[in-house]
Amino acid sequence: MRFRKETGTALLAHGLALLPLLWLSHVVFTEALGADPVAELTRFSGQAAVIFLLLSLSARPLRMLTHWQWPLRLRRMLGLWAFVWASLHVLVYVVLDLGGYWPQLAEDLLKRPYISLGAIVWLLLLALAATSTKASVRRLGRHWKSLHRLVYIAAPLALAHAIWQEKAGFGNADWQAPWLLILMLARLMASRRPSTAESRSMRNEKQ
């Protein structure tokens, strides 16, 4: 019974998470992305990565607030979707936007700090995605947790990368940065004083 419910939640969540990707493929091939589809693809994939990252970071605080079980069960999946979108973002930039202009790619990576920063964020997410399996959790033991705390570095760097390329203003970071700040403060407070409910749930999670 319990197994079924978990599978159901996961399937539903993956189904929902898949929707933006299906929509995006549809509008690419029907040429419905407007005048500058490559810029739009870059923007959309980057934003999707940031939002999935923020959603994955929201799982624990949401659990603390509501005592619901499902947010934490979705956390890994949300994090992996963030990595999928970040990778699509990199592919759009390298293949569709720069396609053929390889000298410009090297120059961009070395000379444009916001692009170097984006590359660092992608490498961090790659490390987290690569060690997201249960086998990795077992193999890395307590190091796994320290490694995955890197997400609290990756997320603000991702926002910095997004703000840095804006011509004026902060773009969507004007609501994403406060969201992230609240999540990081919540994380800090939780690590200072783990509530009994929180430690109980952490034990449950490990079983």
Binding site: D36, V38, D97, G99, E107, R112, W164, A168
Partner: protein, 321 residues
Amino acid sequence: MPPVTRDTQEAVTPETVYMARRRYLRLLGLSATAWPLVACAERTQESQTSATPTGPIDADPFSADDPITRFEDATSYNNFYEFGTGKADPRRYAGQLRTSPWDIEVSGLVETPRRFSLSELAPDEERVERIYRLRCVEAWSMVIPWLGVPLAQVIARCKPTADARFVAFESLADPNQMPGVRTSILDWPYTEGLRMDEAMHPLTLLATGMYRRDLPAQNGAPVRLVVPWKYGFKSIKSITRIRFTSEQPETSWNRMQPSEYGFYANVNPAVDHPRWSQRSERRLAGDGNRAFAPRVPTLPFNGYAAEVAHLYRDMDLQTWF
């Protein structure tokens, strides 16, 4: 005031001629995208070694040979921060803009400062069609058929005095009609400026139309500047004031971020924007799914070097970007 040295109206290729030229190209099996760029690439190198480049990029600089941007794209993807910073914001919100009646206040170093009605300053009968590449500082570009009056003719009507060395332009900044003006994303009103020789250049156009109709509001109705060899932000929209000065006027993006946006803002693939490369651009024109369209190289002075490079002959373009 020096007289207009070139009769710009006569210099325009009549419509029938350029349409015919396009047909010939197609008959010869030449891709209209490829061949002008090949010509440019060759000429670019020459222009670096000699001050007088040979061989035109476009058979006629007033009528670019590149495929034209779709009207739908040129009117739905705009930078017009008075209506918001999103590319779709201008079309969404500019419908509220009242463009008639429209007066332009002419002041500064002129014989008589006064207000002109738009039709007085840029009469419809004097409109010519110009097909220009428009290169945005964000590294995308379009090819747009403008309708307008050469700015030199407009300036002649303003009667600037001999001390006038620059001309400054100011956009409408009405918070009631323009939601972006209610935010402080830029210092309003938007201002731009040109050196007098740039303003008098036959390529410089005061546009009141595009695609053979009046300017849509999101493209800067009812009157905007078009300076095809400079980044798009120089081509100020919805102009309400023209002022002649002896000092270089303040310009909006330069005031906001002087390290990134210069007064001249000439298109130059050799001078990067501090945050991104200007070597190439996404050309938003032509047929086919543009999600898979390759970039094109950016040309010095946006491909108009033969016409304008001499204006900057003694200037270090790395310094005066």
